[in-house]
């Protein structure tokens, strides 16, 4: 993450070295904290990838999505299917998830790329509601119960020493680190600049030789690929792939995380993922004595209120707010 924040642009190799260092740090850290926190770490990693997929699509390419959960579902279902039906190994299913979701995103992107504003929002919203409903109706996808998705134990002799949660965390964290490296390299490349150009001014971008339609479809495809990876990570934390995992609420939660973290930069994704995992946890511990209703609904209200406030006060994310405050103090 440091690589993203620093003002001078490090090269791709430096980013990869840094990522390996962060990975090693997380590896060490995972041995020091308790099992439940490790599980939450895995959740953060899965959400992180999902938020990156939204930041790429909405923050960089300017296309709103209310249905990222649908793309996650596509990835997760295809991963689970190839494991169950064709006996592919788990690691391969992660690649299948990315490719399947990206292909799907490309198809949707071709049509959605022509929509904008509320129309795109409405279409993706319908999508978020429709895909789980469709999955429910297709027999091979296991209906209401869904399909199991078990990443199992660490291989060989580590199976006894590495707890399942730790194994889960390592896999999800690895996915997240790879996703961050790819996303950062992508957004600082020419493709990222094209996306931002199209977002800022479509006509001007077209006049300077960018094909806006192609740029938007590409953004949709790439974003969906990330969403597919998020979906399979997410399913690994849940242990199964079912319609009830990919609700509208999940899509909204991820969108909320991406706004709260700051939608215009990849760097916001970690903050966003932490917020949406931590806030409910805080309330769980605070409201143990309070009624169940408060514990269930208060976090949602708080997160939604934060979303509303941040849109009103700092639509670009918390970094913008900090900048504004600093700016005000100077005067």
């Amino acid at each position: 993450m440091l690589a993203v924040r620093s003002s001078h642009k490090p090269s791709a190799t430096k980013r990869i070295i840094l990522a390996i260092a962060v990975g090693a740090l997380l590896f060490v850290a995972s041995n020091l904290i308790d099992e439940y926190r490790i599980f939450q770490g895995a959740q953060v990693a899965a959400y992180l990838v999902g938020i990156i997929s939204i930041v790429l699509l909405t923050g960089y390419s300017g296309q709103i999505t209310l249905g990222q959960g649908a793309f996650m579902a596509v990835g997760a279902y295809s991963a689970s299917l190839v494991v169950q039906e064709f006996g592919l190994p788990i690691w391969a299913s992660f690649f299948v998830a990315v490719i399947a979701a990206a292909l799907f995103g490309a198809i949707i992107g071709i049509s959605a790329g022509r929509l904008s504003g509320p129309y795109l929002a409405g279409a993706t919203l319908a999508f978020a509601v429709g895909i789980p409903a469709l999955a429910n109706a297709i027999p091979i996808l296991g209906g209401e119960q869904g399909l199991s998705f078990d990443i199992g134990y660490a291989p060989g002799k580590y199976a006894d020493t590495v707890s399942p949660y730790k194994w889960l965390f390592w896999i999800c964290a690895l996915c997240a680190i790879i996703a961050i490296v790819i996303a950062v390299n992508l957004t600082s490349s020419g493709i990222g600049r094209q996306w931002r150009a199209v977002r800022a001014h479509e006509t001007a971008a077209a006049l300077s030789g960018i094909n806006p339609a192609r740029s938007k479809v590409l953004a949709f495809t790439v974003s969906s690929g990330f969403a597919g990876l998020a979906g399979v990570s997410f399913s690994a934390t849940v242990g199964l792939v079912a319609p009830s995992s990919f609700t509208l609420a999940l899509s909204f939660l991820l969108l909320t995380g991406s706004i709260l973290g700051g939608i215009s930069h990849i760097s916001g994704a970690l903050g966003g993922a932490l917020i949406i995992v931590i806030i409910p946890t805080i309330f769980e511990s605070w409201t143990e004595e309070a009624s169940l209703g408060v514990a269930t609904y208060l976090p949602g209200i708080i997160v939604s209120a934060l979303l509303l406030l941040s849109i009103a006060l700092a639509p670009e994310g918390p970094s913008e707010l900090l900048h504004k405050i600093r700016h005000r103090h100077r005067h």
Partner: protein, 297 residues
């Protein structure tokens, strides 16, 4: 199942889609915001109706309470939240997405509040009329007295709205403000007040739709999400700017989906609506029924 029965079965649910489409279009015309929080507003109003029903035991009082709650919530949302957000979210990369996201935040707040107040369980909502199909000459048709009540209520509500829009100064102001807010202000009309009224009317329509649909779907904090998607589809069929278009779009959608369900089975209902939405957005963005006007986004 014969065709006529299938068509009839779709009319009353189509009328409810019409109401939601009407609410969405009214807000879109006045503020250029698609009110995704409408699902939450409608559910909230319906819960108010249910509480009144439980306290007093009178269906009609509950119906009126739900409509009034819808009106008040709609006005409150516009005055307290929307006005603030629309004013702020003008520049920045998120300018076009900000109102949409704000409405989702609002939806989240509504759903959380409803969960806190009324709990998350699906609760039944009573009806004033029998839900058994009416028998005509010994044949039972898939259209109950309750369906008839729904249809008539929506017809009355829409006629009421039509009179207001076409025959009163208020309606003229609302139409003018929808298409040319600046000219309307220069004509001495308080457009911000007109906007609040638009949200209030839309809220009332949502509350009515909630009470009419709740006996079928039951009521829970998020039980109207699907209704919102169908309402949006209906609004898009009608062209998002045309109230009449939206109402006809709702009826067409209800009947069309009923045919699909009748002949292909219930699992295809949603897919059909979704595919229809995408096709219309791509092929005829001004709506099937909207004759003119570009898609402003």
């Amino acid at each position: 199942m014969n065709l006529i029965n299938t068509l009839i079965a779709g009319v009353s649910i189509g009328a409810i889609y019409s109401l939601i489409a009407f609410a969405l279009i009214l807000v879109w015309r006045s503020t250029r915001v698609v009110n995704f929080a409408q699902a939450g507003q409608a559910a909230f109003s319906t819960y108010v109706g249910l509480s009144v029903e439980k306290a007093v035991g009178n269906y009609w009082l509950a119906l009126i309470a739900a409509i009034i709650a819808g009106v008040l919530v709609g006005a409150f949302v516009e005055v307290v939240i929307v006005r603030f957000i629309v004013k702020r979210a003008t520049s920045a990369a998120t300018a076009t997405v900000a109102p949409v996201i704000a409405m989702l935040g609002l939806l989240g707040i509504f759903q959380g509040l409803m969960g806190l107040i009324w709990g998350g369980d699906y609760q039944p909502y009573p009806t004033a009329f029998s839900r058994d199909g009416i028998s005509i000459a010994g044949n039972q048709i898939p259209f109950s007295r309750f369906d008839l009540f729904v249809l008539l209520t929506v017809v009355v509500a829409m006629s009421f709205a039509a009179v207001i829009f076409q025959r009163t100064s208020l309606g003229l102001s609302m139409r003018a403000a929808a298409f040319a807010p600046e000219v309307t202000r220069l004509a001495g009309i308080r457009v911000s007040r007109i906007r609040t009224l638009g949200w209030a009317f839309a809220g009332g329509a949502g509350g009515l739709a909630g009470v009419l649909v709740a006996p079928t779907t039951f009521i829970a904090p998020n039980s109207f999400d699907l209704l919102l998607v169908f309402g949006f589809t209906a609004a898009v069929i009608g062209g998002l700017d045309s109230l009449i278009g939206g109402v006809l779009g709702g009826l067409a959608l209800g009947i069309g989906l009923s045919v699909v369900t009748g002949y292909l089975g219930g699992s295809y209902t949603f897919m059909t609506a979704f595919v229809l939405l995408i096709i219309i957005l791509l092929v005829r963005p001004q709506g099937i029924l909207g004759a003119r006007g570009a898609r402003r986004a």
